[in-house]
């Protein structure tokens, strides 16, 4: 190990790590927003409401993220309509493509988590809310979603860690996040093993901090207290 080399490049690595965190944070938050309607529709009792989210989730969970990224970044340019549209400045930039793809990808997974959580709510609680005269919408907002959020939180934190690692794929579309930055540095100094190990250590630290953060959040939301009955 050559510590001086790692120390010398540490600011650059940190710069990459910042972009990694940015990509992860934006995509898991945006993914959650997309996933809420998807998850609710997915757990519907009506087949025609259920089938479209099901197809979406099936596609995004059944294909590699790398392919999805290439479909958005390289694939969309095949269509003239896209290139002439007002969105082209965004769809041309690797940053936005990575954000869009990761959001759509993680939304599929979060929607499944949400469905599992919604179906795990004891039916008695929903019946109780309805018996108290709450409308269906009120029941959804005040009973179903807060309950589902607590049931699904541990799985959601797993998904965030997975996305932190998946963000490394953004390096394949020329983004200089932690992995991309590491490869660029290696092309300069040829310290392959040292630099990759340093990047790995930074990923480990980031996921450790995130896990601890979610533990605090679970305590704050009193997830344990809601599980045991």
């Amino acid at each position: 190990m050559e510590w001086e080399v790692i120390l010398k490049w540490l600011p650059k690595l940190m710069q990459g790590a910042t972009l990694t965190l940015e990509l992860t944070a934006v995509s898991v938050l945006a993914g959650l927003i997309v996933a809420i309607p998807l998850g609710i529709a997915r757990s519907s009792k009506l087949w025609y409401v259920r089938s479209l989210p099901y197809a979406y989730i099936f596609f995004f969970r059944g294909t590699p993220l790398l392919i999805q990224l290439f479909l958005v970044y390289y694939g969309l340019a095949q269509f003239d309509v896209v290139r002439e549209s007002a969105l082209w400045p965004y769809l041309r930039s690797p940053f936005w493509c990575a954000i869009i793809t990761m959001t759509l990808h993680t939304a599929a997974y979060i929607a499944e988590i949400l469905r599992g959580a919604i179906q795990a709510i004891p039916p008695g609680e929903i019946e109780a809310a309805r018996a108290l005269g709450m409308s269906r919408f009120k029941t959804l907002v005040h009973i179903v979603l807060p309950r589902a959020a607590r049931i699904g939180l541990p799985a959601y934190s797993n998904e965030v860690i997975l996305m932190l690692k998946a963000s490394s794929l953004a390096s394949t579309v020329t983004l200089l996040e932690l992995t991309g930055m590491t490869r660029t540095i290696i092309a300069r100094n040829y310290q392959t093993v040292d630099m990759f190990l340093a990047a790995g250590a930074i990923y480990l630290i980031m996921s450790f901090v995130l896990i601890q953060g979610f533990k605090l959040l679970e305590r704050w939301l009193r997830v344990d207290a809601c599980q045991g009955r």
Binding site: P64, L66, Q78, S167, L169, T192, V193, F196
Partner: protein, 230 residues
């Protein structure tokens, strides 16, 4: 509607074959590593437990892509040293071997947790019964614990295999000619990126569906004697 593949159909099919080969080879390595990891994590010796824990924590905390790159580009010097030692100076790690090592390593780390859960789920009484019958420790493991473990571990392993199958796309980054790489090659020659990547995506979907079907059959088989037939 037919899709014009500009003569790249056979290449994509060959890529699919390579993907399957890679996934199955990595699966074999990963199962062995996972089983060893779980044994280490449940062993009564503290250093072994520590080793198993370190393996699953460290490997799971680092992106799969980084493992692929680290093993492929980082092993050059090491492999050359080994090659010189055994008298083969131009020994190098092929992209396939590096992919199998990286994906097997990652699969093994997750499988460690699945197997550990399965081992812990087997009632203590079964092991004690084996001991009372005078079976040796390895025999208790192979004849009592292992056959029962599969049924419990199978759903978890199935999920991990789906993830593994999709992670094989990462090995295209180091140049292995699997589905993803073949699609990239086709795009370089024939343009139409959306068409080719979509075809590749559908191929992955097909493989996933195939794996899901196989898992369903295996799980049904493993559940014989545990579910009531109607």
């Amino acid at each position: 509607m037919t899709i014009d593949l500009y003569g790249f159909g056979p290449a994509l099919a060959a890529g699919a074959l390579m993907t399957v080969k890679l996934a199955l080879t990595a699966l074999c390595l990963g199962l062995v590593l996972g089983l060893l990891g779980a044994l280490a994590k449940t062993s009564p010796f503290k250093p072994l437990r520590w080793l198993g824990g370190a393996y699953s924590t460290l490997v799971r905390g680092v992106p799969e892509l980084l493992w692929v790159l680290l093993i492929y580009f980082g092993s050059v010097n090491l492999v050359r040293a080994i090659g010189e030692y055994i008298g083969m100076p131009d020994l190098t790690l092929s992209a396939f071997a590096a992919g199998v090592l990286a994906l097997g390593l990652c699969f093994g780390a997750y499988a460690t947790e699945v197997f550990r859960g399965a081992i812990l789920a087997i009632p203590k009484g079964h092991r004690e019964a084996g001991m009372a019958l005078g079976l040796s420790k390895p025999r208790i493991f192979t004849k009592l614990v292992l056959p029962q473990m599969w049924r419990i571990a199978l759903p978890g392993l199935g999920n991990l295999f789906m993830i593994l199958m999709k992670d094989t796309a990462l090995v295209s980054v180091i140049g292995l000619e699997e589905i993803m790489r073949q699609a990239q090659n086709a795009v370089t020659f024939a343009k139409h990126p959306f068409t080719f990547y979509m075809v590749a995506a559908v191929m992955y979907l097909g493989l996933t569906v195939l794996a899901m079907g196989t898992m369903h059959v295996l799980e049904k088989r493993a559940a014989r004697g545990f579910v009531r037939r109607t």
